[in-house]
Amino acid sequence: MKYIIEMLDISKEFTGIVANDDITFQVKPGEIHALLGENGAGKSTLMSILFGLYKADKGTIKLNNNTVKIPNPKVASSLGIGMVHQHFKLVHNFTVTENIILGFENTRKFKIDTKTASESIKELSKKYKLEVDPNSYIEDISVGMQQRVEILKMLYRKADILIFDEPTAVLTPQEIQELLGIMKEMRKEGKTIIIITHKISEIYNLANRCTVIRKGKVISTFDVEKKSFEEISELIIGRKLNMELKREVVEKKPANFKIENLSVLDNRNLTAVNNLSLSAKPGEILGIAGVEGNGQSELIEAITGLRKVKSGHIYFNNNDIVNYSIRKRHEHGIGHIPQDRHKHGLVLDFTLENNLILATYYNKKFSKNGVLKRKEIKKHSEELINQFDIRAANGSNTICRSMSGGNQQKVIIAREIDQSPSLLIVAHPTRGLDIGAIEYIHGRLLEERKKGKTILLFSFELDEILKLSDRIAIMYNGKIVDTVVSSTTNENEIGLMMVGGIKNG
């Protein structure tokens, strides 16, 4: 038996878009197979077909050389196929055990037998080193823990083929390392794993083989070790990746943004930002590194006005902006690319053109006496669509919900940069985006730096911080532990400080 799964000549079309175009995808038993491609390349569609969520227009699926029909996920489960979706499918007010057995409950005397279930879950989690507490509620556990619940769900259902849809997008670096370990453990136990991702660096040391999909077509399938990072990224985006970002020398000016002794409370009224001070200069990208939950969100919200501060000052161009309204901060030239583009950055049910005027609709340019100038708004939107290469099915009239994550992020970046702010607060600008989009956004940020803008870059991705920043401030426990010049430091040094270790020397 050469292949455990064979998807042959699979085609799938959504109204007007060919998501999968005659794809042939084969997986060997006991391997970790990476499925690579840009956002919208058709990876998730292909896996959804395998898991029975979509029906292919054409093609056959073979499992252990037998042709099978998978009309729904229940059938997929019974065939031993399990999937962890990018957005977890868990019931928040149920316990871990209840979630794992949901749909596969054993009953004893008309009652669900959670005791036996919980025993076997404990056993499974020991075997695969998946630490969870079977009795805690989903809403109380971290994202990484929730993912483990999803994995246990598949194992509990005796899945032998495990599909992971971008499993690392929502995890912190530590959690990612743990997950990769768990996957290797499962391979040792004879499971077959398919992992959808667009982070090439993750698949080295993990995957055996890899298949690259571009625009609905299979580009190539190969052994991971045989190709370099550059070669793979070229296959994914279909052209050479511009690896060397241009960092031009910018004239040094005195700092125009200063935070002094700032303290901010979080939602539970605990101190999240603790007596923090920092400063940034025009033409500088100040990276702020740190493990999630060390006060970064609260700091961002305090600077942009979404959260009240407890004490301290924020100076921008010599004005203390602590008591400015959000709009006034905007008008004073503070741009904000928010960490959660769905929650804050966009009105998803608005059209593209309406999202591009979200903070400026009342300006003279877009309205007169309270009436919107539709023509101007459209013109403005077409300009930004061209300038920022935003891809949307219906141009200015596209509802943002239907756009890909990368293009949604471009909408936000276009809107914020277009107002040419002199201070730009950037939070996780490339989270969940593919390499093409990341390359573009990084280039844009450096361009703004060149124009002499002050940029604060918050990110959990150390690569990103190291690549873009002039200086790096490490945030731990609500404080800046240290600020280092990025050209004189490395990943290890920063990583150590991020978890509370003190820099030596």
């Binding site: 905007h330 950055g345 919107l372």
Partner: protein, 359 residues
Amino acid sequence: MDSSKRIISAMIRYFLVPLLAVIFGFFICSIIMIISWQDPVKAFHALFEGAGLFGNIRRFGYTLLAMTPLILTGLSVALAFRTGLFNIGAAGQMLMGGFTAVLVGISFTNLPIIIHLPLAVISALVAGSLWAFIPGLLKARYRVHEVVSTIMMNWISMWSVYYFVPKLIKGGYETESLPIQETASLRTDFLTNLFEGTDVNLGIFISILSIIVVWWLLDKTTFGYELKATGFNKDSAKYAGMKVNRNIILSMMISGGLAGLAGATYYLGFTNKIIIGSLPSQGYDGISVALIGANHPVGILVSSFLLAIIQSGSDQMDAIANVPNEFVSIIVAVIILFAATNKTMKLWLDKFKKIIFRR
């Protein structure tokens, strides 16, 4: 090509889907009629005849009369909905608007009609919006869900009117108020004669004007843009520097004001007085109107007309075809059911389109 595609999809959304819902409504109601040994053809013929669709001006006048407040309560619910609020309180806001208008209509004597009538109408608008201000404030300040608070406000309005009418403006009976002064009435001889003696009144113009104003407000103004942004996503509205709490209160007040206007058209144009002890049914019907009309001002014009036909023709159906007029409730219920599942309907239509346009 692109724009024609958009027009087609808009047509499907605002026209074809509601139309199909209506056809299904009548179809399923016919089946039920056949099962219970009624003749649907005869029944519906009588229904439409009773609504004046076959040229009876007088009956058509009654349909327009029924339509007048339905447009306004429908707009009230739809505007709230488009801005993220679920206003179940149109009935109470309409009653308070009507009560205030009647109070003004009775209390001022010797005012010329040109002052008295606008004063009464505007007082209804103000009273309705003030009545809705309370749940708006509760929502903005204390996150009290507006469904709960507006339902409670409905009962408060009913019993307040129950108490104050006999106290302040007691009429011939315990249960009703004095009639309003002629100078506060929305009725005009011109319209009454045109529709052969029915109570069609100036309210219909208020309603149609309101449709235009609401459409303009929501689609063309920065204010409407803000209200919609707040309704879709409070967090991003706040992020963009909008005053979210203020917008919630204002949405609620405009919604209440529209319901208050419905009260003016009903009590100043039709009943001429307040009868205590019940909430006006148009308040709740407004939810159906908004739902069938897909919360769009033009859709509401169509759906309120449809509901008005069904309401004003049902007695004729009962009398001529001997079909109990409860059957119209079935029609309305089925229509709402299908309108509420309009996503599914759109899906069906898309599939249908695919089959037809397949090369």
